[in-house]
Symmetry: C2
Subunit: 274 residues, 2 copies
């Protein structure tokens, strides 16, 4: 795609090979208006969940993350009022494909550009995302349904409460991938190596045990068909901070639209343990 195409009023088309885009290039497309889930983008680079909260809630959130490291592994924290971070050279207000705006815990809008909504007192947190370990899953020939289908990953609120911290509490959110039964052990082993991006699954096989009534009706993202011989596998999800915002009702917050992540400059490999 030429630079000129980015300067049209219309949103740019989705690229043919999103995996091969550099993070800077991907962010430029999103800034220009491309609105798409980011699974499969910029292979080899970590993606991140965004939650931006008023400064006076920053300690509570950092403590919430410390107490709930599976869903909330903190990759980076911007300085108060800053709009980029050490692993994200772009503009956090504009360079994600879409944002969700919360007031008093209520989702009041979803927008491709949060520049007008951003407040100076916000502290932006970047939280690890399980998209980061999808490249290693694919390399091991473990299918990732939502990448195959070109849709968003399925995410669910569970009945598992997070450990509260200060004024923040809320349920664990999980992402689900249908995995062939004979590859579940491999998927566990591979994702275990990435504890900073949710690591090993929190649950394998039984949605009801997590309080998920119907896999076909995710709370965020798109449903993924679980085919015969496949098992639903659940990983902790970085949308959990937004569920905490909805449950705890701070006066204001901005998050990414689920599945529409911050494509960072950090390498996946940086989050791999031996």
């Amino acid at each position: 795609m030429s630079d000129a195409a980015l300067h049209h009023g219309a949103a740019p088309a989705a690229p043919d090979e999103p995996a091969r885009l550099t993070p800077a290039r991907a962010r430029k497309l999103f800034r220009a208006g491309l609105r798409t889930p980011t699974a499969g983008y910029s292979a080899g680079y970590a993606q991140a969940n965004l939650i931006a909260l008023p400064r006076e809630l920053a300690y509570d959130f950092l403590l919430f993350a410390q107490r709930n490291p599976k869903p909330c592994p903190v990759l980076d924290v911007a300085e108060p009022g800053e709009i980029s971070a050490s692993i994200f050279a772009g503009d956090l207000r504009t360079d994600l494909p879409a944002y969700r705006i919360y007031e008093h815990g209520r989702l009041v809008g979803e927008t491709p550009d949060a520049e007008d909504d951003w407040r100076r007192d916000l502290v932006a947190f970047l939280i690890g995302c399980s998209f980061t370990f999808e490249a290693p899953l694919l390399e091991a020939r473990i299918p990732v349904r939502h990448i195959e289908m070109g849709c968003n990953v399925a995410m669910y609120r569970t009945n598992r409460p997070c450990r509260p911290a200060g004024r923040l509490s809320g349920p664990l959110v999980v992402s689900m991938r249908p995995i062939p039964a004979e590859r579940v052990a491999d998927a566990v082993r591979i994702t275990s190596r990435y504890p900073s991006v949710h690591g090993a699954p929190v649950h394998v096989g039984d949605p009801a045990a997590l309080g998920i009534a119907d896999l076909a009706d995710p709370d965020f993202g798109d449903a993924a068909e679980v085919r015969p011989g496949e098992v639903p596998v659940f990983w902790a999800c970085g949308v959990t901070p937004q569920a905490a915002v909805m449950a705890s009702a701070p006066d204001f917050a901005i998050g990414h639209a689920p599945g529409h992540m911050a494509v960072t400059d950090a390498r996946d490999a940086a989050y791999q343990v031996p």
Copy 2:
């Protein structure tokens, strides 16, 4: 040791088999006045560094820890004003063998009991300690000199700055263990499995590269002889927060006396990754 012995005015004697004490029993001895480095105590239970800071510095410290996870892996955070924590059922003011008190960054005293010094606005942080992986080292027949010698581990301020956070900055502190050259790889492999308690070494072999002029003159703890055929191996150390206090001069702080740790109720195994 009988309970009666603990009620004498005199400090209790060191136990014969410190490795076999439960954490509660070890804490009781320390509360009664036993003043000793804790390496080798309560085998199988994690030990922790303590840093207690005024509430208004808590966010800066939690961010400092997030930015410097090798020296500052946060295991637990007490609620503001609380004197125990989820992994430490004892009294944080009395149940460590010794404490250091800081005013405006200056060490103003070392005491076996910090109850009179403790302030209500303090937030206590428990930080992972490399003593936690000494049991697995010993199990693998890798010698741990300071346990053999019954002295404190050697610790050094380095020339490596930590990433600052808010009002906190300071140098990396390391602990050193002399390891037989043919076992260095094993020591790396074993300690890598414990990322929450400093994990793999930050440096192997060259004290000068860390700005350490003389191994025989540690900044904290006792010197350990490096014998022929041994290599000095350096791990990030949880005294780093106290070095940050000395460098950044908050009005008040309480830390553990280096090597005189909080013996927690958490199992070592809880901090092991696959």
